[in-house]
Amino acid sequence: MQDRIEIAPAPARKRQFLSPHFVRNMLAGHSALGLAFAALIYIVCLTGTVSVFMFELQRWEQPDVPPVAQALSADAVGAVVRAGHAQALADKAAHDLFIMGPNPAAGLQRVFVNYHDHESGAEGSWLADANGQLVTRTHVPWTEFVTELHMSLHLPRTWGLFLVGLTGVALLSSLISGLLSHPRLFKDAFYLRWGGSRRLQDADLHNRLGVWGLPFHFVVTLSGALLGLSTLIVGVLALAAYDGDSGKAFSSILGPMPGADETAAPVPDVGAMVRQVQAAKPGATFTSVNIGHIGEAGQVVHLGMRTEGHLALANTYYFKGDGTPLGDGGLETGGIGQQILGVLQPLHFGWFGGYAVKIAYAVLGLALTIVTYTGVTIWLSRRRDKGRPAPRWERIWVGLGWGQPVALAVSAIVSLYLSEAAILYSYLAVSFVALLIAFLLPAAEVGSRLLRLACAAALTGLIIAHGVTWVARAADPMAWFVSAALAAVAIALVISALPRGAFATSAVAERS
């Protein structure tokens, strides 16, 4: 007779808020989505982090113009509009004129003048001084290259914006599924175990950076996705409610658009408009003006004026060409929809608290880039742990991840010597070569170290090349600040590329 085996009842497991089955399903979806969009999300996050310093990079790239720290006076605004219009006429591009002035909240210390004729395609871009006089044409090809890569991946504009918007949706979805597949959210809240198992290290980094930075990541991703998808959404909205006229739909959100009357008319007195707003809102400062169909009877002025204490870059005030007010956008104190519209851009780019917020945005943006990178390395480590390693994919991912900073640094060097078209080609070529090198090397770790050293070398070359080019002509101290920051990044890369324990070994050697 067989003895009866008594089995003690298992201790009752604590009921979890999210069931293991639900979490496993979410993890499967999170993993699939992350892998499918990883490369795109990584490139958009990395270039977005760089783009936070767009204005500083512009000053570094063209430092022979002194910064303009103070907001423009009403007279200076009037002068720069007249000067911009005269130059636009000379360049046969006088159709739409856009001027943006200094804004401490955004860290902007320049006066930009842009004009273009969308029919002929002619356009021009200048920098002006504090008195509103044009100084020189802007030449910031690398900054334009990086911001364009971030916004549309250098694809045809509509498709590029849509693809980046879709990437934003995928990232948003990953944030949601990542949160729902993390039942140990509070239990692991402060873990960062470094140097043991690679999978555990990457998982800790991925989860800690992702969870604590969640509010920032959510806001930046949501605003970016909305900006990217706005054309598509407004297109469908126009079909439903505006007889298919997207212009009319945009106008209902962004304010009055210029009329079709092409009869010649005087250039608007924007200085008087600035004074008019300041009379109603003492302390308001000029930030930008956009004049559609300038010099025609149908012209409309969108004047950006900022008052302190708001996240929005500025409120927009609308005027006819003859100075008749047409209301305002309510971006600072209007309804909830208007205020959301006003904060989308500053919240996405970190343009609301000067350099302190920009540095915090760089830290949090870099964190999101690392979260994306480690998302893939966790998957690769998991495969390795389960006896199904994917060494080719490990090397390819290293080539893509570390190849991007190298490609960006090399393209910046190219921008100093060659044409604008060469920047994109050099970026693509270096990206490909980095992938190839990483793929051909025996181990992913070797490729990772080599590419980090290559990036440090490229940054050093960039600092030297930039210094040689501008040392005698630089009038803007930002040139040296940015170069110093790049040097710090290069040093950090070299340190990170040293073998683990190198410092400890040398310290022991010194003691002995």
Binding site: H21, N25, G168, L200
Partner: protein, 195 residues
């Protein structure tokens, strides 16, 4: 008094930063301890963090203060985590299976294509339908309904993507998304058809 007022913003900012540091530090102490002895640290930590938000609200008002406070709290939390870094010896070791693994699912080209179509195309169509229906039909000011409707699109699309990719039953997700799309576009376009 004027001098105090001039220093109020930087003082309140500094106070907010210190309160966040103290609050997150208390949460970390609570995390290191065991229930129920750690409860005072847990409750105290959240209260101190709340006080940090209050300091930022006083310094910058709620609109700007919220943005500054959330950014500051995130960066300080990163710093606290880095300070608590646990360095381990580099060695190959088995990871304790404390974390759940993704569900292993049969995968083939047909299923992957169907999932991609569902999560990217159909979820997108449904999300845009709901967003546009909101923008057209909600009894709100023009800006409010259009902007909030627009914001709903990426949120719903992202949520729909997360759900369709995690749901193993393709038919259920397809039917539900089709129903949502029909409802959304119906609300958005039917008034136009009947006018």
């Amino acid at each position: 008094m004027d001098q105090i007022a001039a220093f109020a913003t930087p003082l309140l900012t500094a106070a907010g930063l210190l309160l966040f540091l103290a609050g997150i530090g208390l949460l970390r102490l609570s995390w290191l301890g065991k229930r129920p002895r750690n409860l005072p640290f847990l409750i105290g930590g959240w209260l101190v963090i709340g006080a940090g938000f209050w300091a930022f609200f006083r310094a910058y008002d709620v609109e700007v203060g919220t943005a500054y406070a959330l950014i500051a709290a995130a960066v300080i939390a990163y710093a606290v985590i880095v300070i608590g870094l646990e360095v381990r010896q580099p060695k190959v070791q088995r990871v304790r299976e404390v974390a759940l693994e993704p569900e292993e699912r049969p995968s083939n080209l047909w299923r992957a294509t169907a999932k991609a179509l569902l999560s990217i195309v159909l979820a997108g169509i449904a999300a845009i339908g709901v967003g546009v229906a909101f923008a057209v039909a909600m009894p709100l000011e023009t800006h409010d309904r259009i902007v909030v409707g627009g914001l709903l699109v990426p949120i719903l699309w992202g949520g729909g993507m997360a759900w369709t990719l995690s749901d193993a039953k393709l038919l259920r997700a397809t039917l539900l998304l089709l129903c949502i799309s029909a409802l959304g576009y119906g609300i958005a376009f039917l008034p136009k058809v009947f006018v």
